[in-house]
Symmetry: none
Subunit: 187 residues, 4 copies
Amino acid sequence: MSKKQDIMAATLDLIHEEGLQSVTFSKLFKRANVGAGTIYNYFANKEELVNAVYKEARILMGESLLQGYDPEASLYERFKCLQLNRLNFGIHYPKEFLFIDSFSFSSYISPELRNMEDVHQSSEVVLSLIVEGQKQGMIKEMDSHLCHQLIHGIISSILKGYYIDKYPLNDVQVQQILESSWKAILV
Amino acid sequence: MSKKQDIMAATLDLIHEEGLQSVTFSKLFKRANVGAGTIYNYFANKEELVNAVYKEARILMGESLLQGYDPEASLYERFKCLQLNRLNFGIHYPKEFLFIDSFSFSSYISPELRNMEDVHQSSEVVLSLIVEGQKQGMIKEMDSHLCHQLIHGIISSILKGYYIDKYPLNDVQVQQILESSWKAILV
Amino acid sequence: MSKKQDIMAATLDLIHEEGLQSVTFSKLFKRANVGAGTIYNYFANKEELVNAVYKEARILMGESLLQGYDPEASLYERFKCLQLNRLNFGIHYPKEFLFIDSFSFSSYISPELRNMEDVHQSSEVVLSLIVEGQKQGMIKEMDSHLCHQLIHGIISSILKGYYIDKYPLNDVQVQQILESSWKAILV
Amino acid sequence: MSKKQDIMAATLDLIHEEGLQSVTFSKLFKRANVGAGTIYNYFANKEELVNAVYKEARILMGESLLQGYDPEASLYERFKCLQLNRLNFGIHYPKEFLFIDSFSFSSYISPELRNMEDVHQSSEVVLSLIVEGQKQGMIKEMDSHLCHQLIHGIISSILKGYYIDKYPLNDVQVQQILESSWKAILV
DNA sequence: CATGAATGAGCGTTCATTCAT
DNA sequence: TATGAATGAACGCTCATTCAT
């Protein structure tokens, strides 16, 4: 792995373990096994480093959310795919998920990055799916952003409980969650 | 007593505006209009100050969550009351809500405080309501903590979208949210 | 006892217990059982307080050093009286002795105070005793200040060893010390 | 290595000039011409710095005190060597001498350091010399620690008078002091 | 007189950043 | 590139001093 990736991986690890506030450069150097000045060959400052880590996580998330999405499938199949992708991303990449969840609204992350297209692509897919479902009379008439937030919020919240070992997330639970979130927005 | 309240209010404001990490004492002194040493008449150190602010927010939340709760009312009425209380707390006390949401799992908050009884009382009311509903065959059979997390997660997520002006939260939306979250957990 | 004396006694105690550097006003207030502002009714600032304590100790020492001094007695008798007075002062007033010993050359003590007449009276008695002895051919010809310092130094040093319990100071030891210091300066 | 030495030298200078209590880091930085953080590359904190300076002074003193000591020489020759070494150390290293003299019993100095072997070696040489002299009937029968303290005290006291220019310390005076201290403990 | 809450300059220390090697 | 000693602004905190009561 390159020095640059060592640094970014160490950054994400430290953010996950102790929170952004306690990611000091001296901890970072030791963890990443690089010299104090090496970071500045790759990143102009701490903020750019964190933003780069954020960007990488967002790209990874963006790729995950639309994985296997079949525009031709039924409304419910497409809905399940999107929700499952989000859930699986959170299960397999907890560090990335929590980092994105915590800092998307932080002033630490630059506005340009916050509005990256990657994840928004998936957001738009979700939004148009909602609108489509409402036109068909399947999905309840409500503000589409509110509806979007609602089904995402279920996944995020479930994941946070899972991370602190409140319950397992096996196939049974996963199916229950998908059903629940679907029923929540049906007419 | 006013100085203490000034300091705590300024702390909560700053946490809300810039995040806990950037609550420096120099910002705090200016915001609260007190001298550098004044804080130490009331709080042993920064951590105790933050914990005191957290405790106050938790007490306020604890009082709000069970407001008007009638144990004799129907299952659905009780459910709506609990969800509505949470939503209203978030609407009227956004700073408190976000602070609690962000830092309940932070190492900055002492474990004793994290496990205060106040909010947990309401948690147990919710949990037993879920179990009761499951016995009656109304609520879907699933891990009660998972179910709890699900309905809370909906409210939290909706509130976060509301805070960044994604949509309004008028009576219409509020009713939709209550219905959605109820349908999410019905059999 | 008056507030003023409470404060001065507490100051001397604290200096003796922890050293001047750690005599903070907050410790002082608690020890002396007075309010934070009360000191300023009696002393303009910390330095004046310390100087006042120093002055009081010096006055006490000045009184002690010439106690029972009989100008008509023999050279040796007068020498023994002076040395014994110094030794006894150190034995009975360890806090005062050590404070004077440590801070006589500190910049904390004002020059005027350092050159108070009280103890110097006794110094001049000692010096003229030395000169007289040298004229009589009993005391070795040497710089009288050097001689003075020598016999004082013996007493001071012995006291410091006594304070840390290196040895007892009973009559036997006291007699040995007086003899030794006398022999040290004889021709 | 130069920065470390700069810092230690500046520390010793400041202690000598103004006392330990006024060795603030801001004075230290200016004096040593280093940045505020540089000290922490070499010393964990202020106390460790002071202890390091103390240790260096003690090592220097330990080397000086037994210089040229010939165990085969006569009792008086050995006595003179020890006393002269101490006197010379004080004359050539006044800052080190006063620092050790003042702070050997300060809580600032760690107990391990206080009980270093270096200087104690010389103490034991002095003590056994005293005991030997007492067995031979040359040195007065008295507590050996008392006797030790007495002859050290003479040197210390003389040096303090010398430092404030009370008198010169040329060969004549030095010989007088050695004789006086010898006579003080003879039978 | 006596009080103690309030003050803010100054403390020891941390840590993002620089730069000579 | 890669390094890490050096830097100094900024941090949390202390404490002598003030002043309204």
